[in-house]
């Protein structure tokens, strides 16, 4: 069995829907997977178990030396995959010839582009920062092109954000985990319960969604928001006192807690601005909603329309207040049964075309022929 070392920029306690099922369960059927996490707090290297290692973040730039000090033999790996961090990737590429592994770069999200967008929204963007970003991107592309393969979240993400990366790509998208499907808990309330989970910031323009809800005539609705950005959310909600009593804010700490909360809702909300950082790949929140067979109202963008069909297994809306309001009004007219039916169809659709089991097999096959 071939051996892959996955080096993630996430911390040791990450509770992410992606890494756990794909790397810790499904890919293990095809290859041995070891995972390196980083800790900002613990002082020493730690073996969580035979395949998971935690390394103090101060060793990021001398990772292989630290692994060697702890008896992890790099010669044993056929593949070393680095998630998002170019500095670590450079370090891995430096030793590729010595240890004879194939270097892979996992591009999960265009973080720099998001930061630039945030800076623009905060009026912090300057010509200098724009130039710096341009040169940094150029240098990143050069580094990534030295790898054996790129693993973007979607083909489109590769095309839009790293068009000059010419190495083979293996799409590594978030998917639904067939082993963890939560039952939708039907509530007895008359109202329709919507849920939004995930980050909230200026770039996501959630005000547009709140504005839309505030224009809805019916008051038979509730909106649950689960986010780590609780303070930002409360500040934003202060501007919508007329709908404040309809909205409950949560900060689900674990994936299980989030899926439990989702299961209590009727309709998921994945309304994000129609810009490439959000429309070039299917947002993880959509998979979270459908894990509990909760159907989703999402922005009508090219990417999701290839996956779902409007009013069959999801609902699409333009990212405008008017269109969202109209769609919510429509959803409030549907019966619970109709809503449930759409949720069940959407879940089936994802299980058919985007589940971790098939994704793992595809990735393993592609790595085999690299």
């Amino acid at each position: 069995m071939k051996k892959l070392l996955y080096i993630t920029d996430q911390d040791e306690y990450v509770d992410n829907s992606f890494i756990a099922p794909l790397f810790e369960v499904y890919l293990k059927k095809y290859m041995t997977i070891d995972i390196v996490y980083f800790t900002e707090f613990k002082s020493d290297f730690e073996r969580k178990d035979a395949h998971r290692f935690t390394v103090p973040s101060r060793y990021k730039n001398s990772l292989l030396q630290e692994l060697k000090r702890n008896d992890i033999e790099m010669h044993n790996y056929d593949f070393v995959m680095v998630r998002n961090n170019i500095k670590i990737l450079e370090h891995i590429l430096k030793y590729r010839e010595k240890y004879h592994y194939k270097a892979l770069y996992r591009f999960s999200f265009p973080k720099r582009r998001v930061k630039m967008s945030c800076d623009k929204a905060d009026n912090k963007h300057t010509i200098l920062s724009s130039m710096m970003n341009h040169f940094k991107l150029k240098s990143d592309v050069k580094t990534i092109n030295r790898c054996d393969a790129l693993l973007p979240t979607s083909k489109r993400m590769h095309e839009v954000f790293l068009p000059k990366v010419t190495i083979p790509d293996i799409v590594c998208s978030p998917s639904i985990n067939p082993q963890i499907l939560h039952e939708n808990k039907q509530h007895t309330g008359e109202e329709k319960r919507f849920i939004y989970s995930g980050t909230l910031d200026k770039v996501r323009e959630f005000e547009t969604v709140l504005e839309a809800f505030s224009k809805v005539i019916s008051d038979q609705w509730k909106l649950f928001i689960s986010t780590r950005d609780v303070e930002y959310t409360y500040e934003m909600l202060d501007n919508y006192p007329n709908i404040r009593e309809h909205i409950e804010v949560y900060n689900a700490k674990t994936k299980d807690a989030l899926l439990d909360l989702i299961a209590k809702a009727d309709i998921g909300v994945a309304l994000l601005p129609d810009i490439p950082i959000y429309t070039s790949a299917t947002p993880v929140k959509i998979f979270d909603y459908y894990s509990s067979a909760v159907p989703c109202l999402m922005t009508d963008s090219g990417h999701v329309t290839t996956l779902f069909t409007d009013s069959t297994d999801a609902w699409f809306s333009d990212f405008t207040q008017e269109d969202i309001t109209a769609k919510i009004e429509y959803l409030l007219t549907l019966s619970k049964k109709e809503v449930m039916h759409v949720g069940a169809k959407g879940q089936k659709r994802l299980l058919d075309v985007k589940n971790y089991e098939t994704l793992a097999k595809t990735i393993a096959d592609k790595l085999e022929v690299l």
């Binding site: 911390d11 306690y13 613990k42 002082s43 103090p56």
Partner: protein, 449 residues
């Protein structure tokens, strides 16, 4: 001239030296024991209550410990507790306080919540305390103002306990260990004070001659050097441990006049800063006061508040290209550079309090410059070891055992907590080398759970 021969001779009468002295006297059939102490009494340097925060570092609230390390320290920390209970020292030199690791801000809160889940099986008594609980247990860390009307803006959470022994006066414990050692056996158990060891020489018959500054010389079949940074100094003189250097880190404290904290409050530690995370402790030597610290200052001498030892520092640093590389790796990180510079400023009169209070406000947001005073005479030196082969700063303790009848120990934090565990390790080495008997069953019954 004095010239006496012993089975085992220990250099250094701090907590580590006296712990070994006790275990050998109490649990082995050693025929003669000697302890040489440089100063006029036991534990006048780093084991003294004024030099450290007197904490039993069990690993439950020390956020930089891995689970593996905490499992080890738990066993040795319990030995300290069992020793004190065995001799009725609870509430005399060992105390129960509330203690907690405090997470401030979203990232640290997330970390503490997860760490609690990871560690609660090893430490079942730990509890997770939210803001409401903390308002009752430790109100000053919750509020932004002294009147306690306004909550601090950042989210906070703590994991802690108020059922455990947390604090020991390690200076007093050193005296107790020596006293109990001498009571435990009828064989010679000599302690010589004001005896500074200058050299140890291995003789042709494989025994060791220990030479002292006052002209005295002792011989022994086995020698253990537990002399802080001077352990490495003596090791180098014998040609051992050349792959190591010593970086003395001095720590200072600030004291409040009033009662500020009900228990120990530790903060989440940044792994890039291996020396010490700032914490707040009720002081057992100055009743009613709260001690904040320690700071971390690189000091070019091996002993704090004692004359000299600058030359010893230069020799023990063992300066070469590898040391330059270690320093380069440390200082190229801006977090470490800023930390070192800031800690230097914590020692500069007029500006030190103002700067220190900014850091301490992470624990008590309402703490002001007027609340604290520099604790003159408090603070010790941690001999942090530099590993020249691996070109890195070693964290925690280090031991050199060439397996020929001599051991050198450097025991910075958590050395005091693990004194009886380290002594157990050395006892095994000594009885094996000298062919002595070790009553391990009784030892384990007395000192372990």
């Amino acid at each position: 001239m004095k010239h006496k021969h012993y089975d085992v001779l220990i250099v250094g009468g701090g907590i580590s030296g006296t712990a070994l002295f006790y275990e050998l006297a109490k649990y082995t059939d050693v025929q003669s024991l000697c302890l040489l102490e440089k100063y006029e009494a036991l534990a006048t340097l780093n084991s003294k209550g004024t030099s450290n925060s007197q904490t039993i570092h069990i690993g439950d609230i020390e956020t930089n410990y891995t689970l593996e390390k905490a499992t080890i320290t738990k066993r040795t920390a319990k030995m300290v507790e069992k020793f004190c209970l065995q001799y009725g020292l609870q509430d005399k030199i060992m105390f129960k306080h509330q203690k907690m690791a405090l997470g401030v801000g979203e990232k640290e809160v997330h970390f503490i919540e997860n760490r609690y889940e990871e560690f609660k099986a090893l430490f079942p008594y730990l509890e997770l305390w939210d803001v409401e609980k903390l308002k009752v247990l430790e109100p000053k860390i919750v509020y932004q103002d002294k009147a306690q009307t306004k909550l601090r803006p950042e989210p906070i959470i703590a994991m802690g306990t108020n059922t455990q022994y947390t604090t020991v006066d390690y200076g007093a414990m050193s005296e107790s260990l020596a006293e109990q050692a001498q009571k435990a056996t009828g064989v010679p158990t000599d302690i010589f004070y004001d005896t500074q060891v200058t050299d140890v020489i291995q003789k042709e018959d494989k025994t060791f001659e220990v030479l002292c500054k006052d002209g005295a010389a002792y011989t022994a079949n086995f020698v253990v050097v537990n002399a802080g940074a001077h352990s490495l100094f003596l090791a180098h003189r014998m040609g051992y441990g050349k792959h190591m250097g010593c970086l003395p880190m001095a720590g200072s404290f600030y004291m409040t006049e009033d009662h500020f904290l009900n228990g120990k409050v530790y903060m989440v530690q940044n792994n890039k800063l291996p020396f010490a995370a700032l914490h707040g402790d009720p002081d057992i030597l100055a009743e009613g006061k709260t001690r904040f610290g320690p700071t971390a200052l690189m000091l070019p001498k091996l002993e704090r508040y004692k004359k000299g030892t600058y030359l010893d520092f230069i020799k023990t640093l063992n300066f070469d290209f590898h040391i330059v590389k270690i320093f380069w790796d440390l200082f190229k990180d801006s977090d470490i550079r800023n930390y070192v510079f800031k800690n230097f400023l914590f020692e500069v009169p007029l500006i030190n309090k103002k700067l220190f209070v900014q850091d301490a406000q992470k624990i008590v947001p309402s703490l002001s410059v007027d609340d604290i005073t520099y604790a003159q005479g408090f603070g010790g030196v941690r001999p942090q070891v530099l590993d020249k082969e691996k070109e890195k700063l070693m964290l925690g303790e280090a031991s050199i055992n060439p397996e020929n009848g001599i051991i050198f120990n450097m025991t910075p934090s958590p050395g005091a907590t693990s004194c009886l565990g380290n002594a157990e390790r050395d006892t095994h080495a000594i009885v094996k080398h000298l062919g002595l008997k070790f009553d391990e069953a009784q030892f384990l019954k007395d000192l372990t759970e």
